[in-house]
């Protein structure tokens, strides 16, 4: 079981979902994540699970909603335009307090955009998206192995808080292959059926799952309950990585694949004698504001690098609050920044900021 297998990120994702005891996948094809549903299509029948291709992303998320209401682990995966189509459904699910895990393998946008990797759905994932006062837990692994480790955690979080957990993956992570190790394999029957699940009103009064209350006072209470949950998540569930930060004077902030690229940059810059480090949020929501802010005193500047035009930057700034210069470099539309260009940008900044 713990032999290393060389796998595509999108397939490792699917395998991790299955090994997390999830047996229900609903989805609609879209590049660059087709390997995920295709993996399910091959494997689910072999493990007594279901791969069902929905007629659209709208239908997919509502099928997911249905299965989630029965208390079973359920998963869907899509890419940017498909995720936009799911916004109404996600808002419904968030309001209904049922656990769901979704993945958005981000491609270049907006519009039809392109099929190359991007991170330009950060704001959609962490701030906006659907209507109303709700939040998703947003997880951003940066290696295929980390995907494998975070998936069961994602299901646990979804269930603990009865909320939506989104994996925000860039296309690189989905498309790239590397060797991974699985050290878990949860069977669905090990997972209890929650008391709120829709199973038929047998031996109990009816269970109901709705996402509304036409009475504003009651709807406000529903919202305040949600909010309490979100506050608890903010307190307890932040995840981040501190890399070479102990003595760092120049602090990169990056997530996902970009963080990996930054590590290559750091290798180079450390050799040149620059005290460079990386702060990598793993939960994009809740964002580790305070945790990043801790490094303000030691920092000469912060350098936020993303595959978009500055989406996480808003959170970085909300953390740094302009106490130290905060710079940004981004490539977008599916272009992956290279170590070379980041090095160049970084060294320019070092010269500018004395």
């Amino acid at each position: 079981m713990s032999e290393k297998v060389f796998m595509k990120g999108s397939e490792a994702l699917a395998e991790a979902v299955i090994r997390s005891g999830c047996r229900f996948f609903f989805g609609y094809p879209i590049t660059p994540q087709n390997e995920t549903p295709e993996y399910f299509a091959r494997k689910m029948p072999l493990v007594g699970g279901l791969y069902l291709q929905a007629e659209s992303e709208v239908a997919a998320i509502n099928m997911v909603y249905g299965t989630a209401c029965t208390g079973k682990r359920v998963f869907t995966s899509t890419s940017s335009p498909g995720f936009s189509l799911m916004q109404e459904g996600i808002s419904y699910i968030a309001c209904s307090n049922v656990p769901v895990v979704v993945a958005n393998v981000v491609r270049g946008g907006p519009g039809l955009g392109g099929i190359s990797p991007a991170q330009s759905d950060y704001l959609q994932a962490t701030k906006g998206g659907g209507h109303g006062d709700y939040k998703l837990i947003v997880l951003a692994p940066s290696t295929v192995q980390e995907i494998v480790e975070l998936v069961p955690k994602g299901f646990e979080l979804a269930e603990k808080y009865r909320t939506v957990v989104e994996f925000l993956l860039d296309g690189i992570l989905g498309q790239m292959m590397e060797a991974v190790e699985f050290n878990y394999d949860i069977k669905p029957d090990e997972l209890p059926t929650p008391s709120w699940a829709l199973t038929g009103a047998k031996g109990r009064t009816k269970n109901l799952i709705v996402s509304f209350d036409l009475n504003p006072e009651k709807l406000e209470i529903m919202n305040l309950e949600l909010n309490k949950k979100y506050k608890e998540i903010e307190e307890k569930e932040k995840m981040w990585e501190e890399y070479n930060l102990l003595d760092a004077e120049y602090i990169f902030v990056a997530f996902g694949t970009v963080a990996r690229i930054i590590k290559s940059v750091i290798e180079v810059e450390r050799k040149k004698g620059f005290k460079v480090g990386l702060f990598r949020p793993i939960t994009l929501w809740p964002f580790p504001y305070e945790e990043l802010r801790k490094f303000v005193p030691q920092a000469k500047f912060f350098f936020d690098v993303e595959m978009n035009l500055g989406q996480m930057l808003e959170d970085t700034r909300l953390s740094i609050l302009d106490r130290k210069p905060t710079f940004f470099y981004g490539r977008t539309g599916g272009v992956v920044p290279t170590t070379l260009e980041i090095i160049e940008q970084f060294e320019k900044l070092v010269k500018e900021v004395k």
Binding site: F6, K263, T339, L340
Partner: protein, 178 residues
């Protein structure tokens, strides 16, 4: 131990399989490997390429801006990648489909008439294996046996009958270098 290569060509030329084969072979050897594919702007018949890194250390970025080794299977790929070869690096050229000469002279060029050899072997599809054979032999980081092991594994699932011609193609490619 470190090996990096960008492999580029038309969609149908099997460049992804070449990359995956290298990585899978490395994994078999217990060495780290990353494979990162990139599909060109065009869906059908467009160019595609992959970045492959093999290393006994942890691999940070799986993306190669430039590379010590680049394999180009067709002309558009040559045009795009010629200047991405690092100084003193090696450019592998599929001379069956590329008529122009490489203009740089700070790099080594290995010409492989992959399609011609493959067609001679009876199946144009194995042109990629011819090239791979040459690449493996030239770079000498991964033993060709490991590659063959992986090819066999890939094929044994469905198309056993093709193992032989693939092996031959690898060998023919390697022979060019020897």
């Amino acid at each position: 131990m470190y090996l990096e290569v960008i492999i580029a060509g038309f969609g149908g030329q099997g460049v992804m399989l070449m990359g995956e084969t290298i990585c899978e072979a490395a994994t078999t050897m217990g060495i780290n490997a990353t494979f990162f594919p990139s599909y060109g702007p065009e869906m059908r018949g467009g160019t595609a390429n992959c970045n492959v890194i093999v290393s006994d250390k942890a691999i940070a970025s799986p993306v190669l801006a430039t590379s010590m080794n680049i394999i180009v299977m067709n002309k558009p790929s040559l045009d795009k990648f010629e200047n991405k070869v690092k100084e003193k690096g090696i450019l592998f050229v599929n001379s069956s489909l590329i008529d122009r000469e490489v203009t740089r002279n700070d790099i080594e060029v290995v010409k492989v008439p992959a399609n011609e050899i493959a067609e001679k072997l009876g199946n144009a599809v194995v042109a990629n294996m011819v090239m791979l054979g040459a690449f493996i032999e030239k770079t000498k980081v991964i033993p060709i046996e490991k590659v063959k092991y992986v090819v066999e594994k890939f094929l044994s699932e469905k198309k056993k009958e093709l193992i032989d011609i693939n092996f031959k193609a690898l060998d023919e490619g390697a022979k060019l270098i020897k």
